[in-house]
Symmetry: C2
């Protein structure tokens, strides 16, 4: 089944176009799951325990999680193992999974990244459930860097999200290169539309398996980008801790409220930090994470319903 159709079906099952990002920072984990020793393997285990807890808490409310590879790579191969085990666990809980890896390199190297991060494993000791349903990519090395992933995506019902416009204002000096009418990010958007628009990449829902990462900025420029990529599913960062409101995300949706999946990471997974441990009165940290995921889903459900 095509990635965009699987995604649409998952979103409909929870009536919420949202994804929760799992970005575990050791120093912010609940005290009861802090690492037991100062080793990378203990750190990886703590992150995995936290990730499983987040998945359990958010699974009733959201269709998907996004696992951010960077946070796991900070514990080297131990963390990378935890990254893949969390993907498998999220699949067991019926969630779609986006691997947030932002890889990008020349074609011959991209083939290897695609093998390691999206392809069905060719090894006897690696289960297919460990592979995410989609990954994020950097598209700055052109089509040959993205194509190995797209080929796998099409064959296996998986997807890719290529970065167009990040949420970090620090990127503006790169992304707004060119003229206000023809900025660099608009060029990337046109390329991504082109890479994903061939009929063979399009699902029944008329969206492609080649998506884009697009942070909402001013409404006008977001709508212009949306018009430029009419068949591209969007992954939308920047909500919550990074400052964007649900209303600011509205311009990311297609008419009918489809075509976008809004991510929240810190504002959901660290929701227990708003209440001190003594105030929680024995309530588990996951209760707060689940409640934040539900509020997030409720907000974006309303936003999408008005698009």
């Amino acid at each position: 089944m095509h990635f965009a159709d699987r995604l649409l079906s998952a979103i409909e099952s929870k009536s919420a176009p949202v994804v929760v990002g799992i970005d575990p920072l050791l120093e912010r984990l609940p005290s009861e799951i802090q690492p037991k020793s100062s080793t990378a393997s203990a750190a990886a285990l703590a992150m995995e325990t936290f990730g499983r807890g987040v998945i359990d808490a958010v699974a009733p409310h959201v269709p998907a999680v996004k696992v951010n590879s960077a946070f796991f790579e900070a514990a080297y191969e131990h963390g990378v193992g935890a990254y893949f085990r969390l993907i498998e666990y999220a699949h067991e809980r019926g969630l779609l999974v986006i691997g947030d890896i932002k890889r990008g390199d020349i074609g011959s190297t991209a083939k290897l990244y695609a093998r390691g991060h999206l392809a069905t494993p060719a090894f006897d000791d690696v289960r297919v459930e460990r592979m995410p349903d989609a990954v994020t990519l950097a598209g700055y090395l052109g089509q040959s860097a993205v194509q190995p992933f797209v080929d796998i995506a099409r064959e296996t019902g998986r997807g890719v999200y290529v970065l167009v416009r990040p949420s970090d204002p620090g990127a503006d000096r790169v992304h707004e290169f060119g003229s206000p009418d023809a900025p660099f990010y608009g060029h990337m958007a046109a390329l991504i539309d082109e890479w994903g628009s061939s009929p063979e990449w399009i699902g029944e829902c008329e969206l492609s398996c080649v998506g884009a990462v697009v942070a909402p900025k001013d409404e006008r420029s977001t709508r212009a980008l949306r018009g430029r990529m009419p068949r591209t599913p969007w992954l939308v960062p920047g909500y919550g801790a990074q400052g964007a409101t649900g209303a600011a995300c509205a311009a990311c949706f297609l008419p009918g409220g489809t075509g976008a999946l809004v991510n929240a990471s810190r504002s959901v997974i660290y929701a227990y930090e708003d209440t001190s441990e003594s105030q929680r009165g024995g309530e588990r940290w996951q209760t707060y994470v689940g409640a934040a995921a539900r509020r997030f889903a409720d907000e974006l459900r309303t936003v999408a319903a008005h698009c």
Copy 2:
């Protein structure tokens, strides 16, 4: 000691401004070190054995190796472990090591990539020798994505190489965006020069710890880029299997033959493929790799001497 000074000293010790890239493809490994089973752990072990053999063979001739993370990530956490063990082994053999990771993400995520790939480990079970002396980065998310790496580089005598112009012609539609006089890659070059030009980033050799990845294309544009980044050490891909000759690399050097480190991967590490196993008459595959590394070093020594 500053990265650029360490690099210059390493280059002088072998009189050769070259680095050998370790990109192990299972299907191209010598028959005697093919994996013993179809598991990811056996694949990782075979890549590690090959990498150690390459390091032994090239260490007398070259100052540095570049380990390409993509090829190891294709065997998941098993491969990632092998990647770090190879870095440690190359250090034991007295080589500088570049970790070819091309990471790039927003500042809050880049901090984690920097912890996992360049920083001195904060864990009791991870030796500092496992960390590379420099990493390659994608700079498309702006200064906030690069800064966490640069801060670590400066504190620890390590370095970064930010991608300006890749060797893959497939990237041209992105990199030549803009006008012929003001292309996107020129903008990246100007940013990188700016990010690395503060006196605190400059070593005694007057080069920065913020380097650039620049493939040689036509001589005129390469010289223009070199003029734009007068204090930036370059890592130069594209030689050998990718088509660039030593002469084409000449424009990458500063006057006096410093400032560039030319990489060859496939043309060195698979040099045994030019001679069939029966023709080799019992000679080890490493003999051919060592001879190719020596020829590569000899050629670039001559090129640099004429700059």
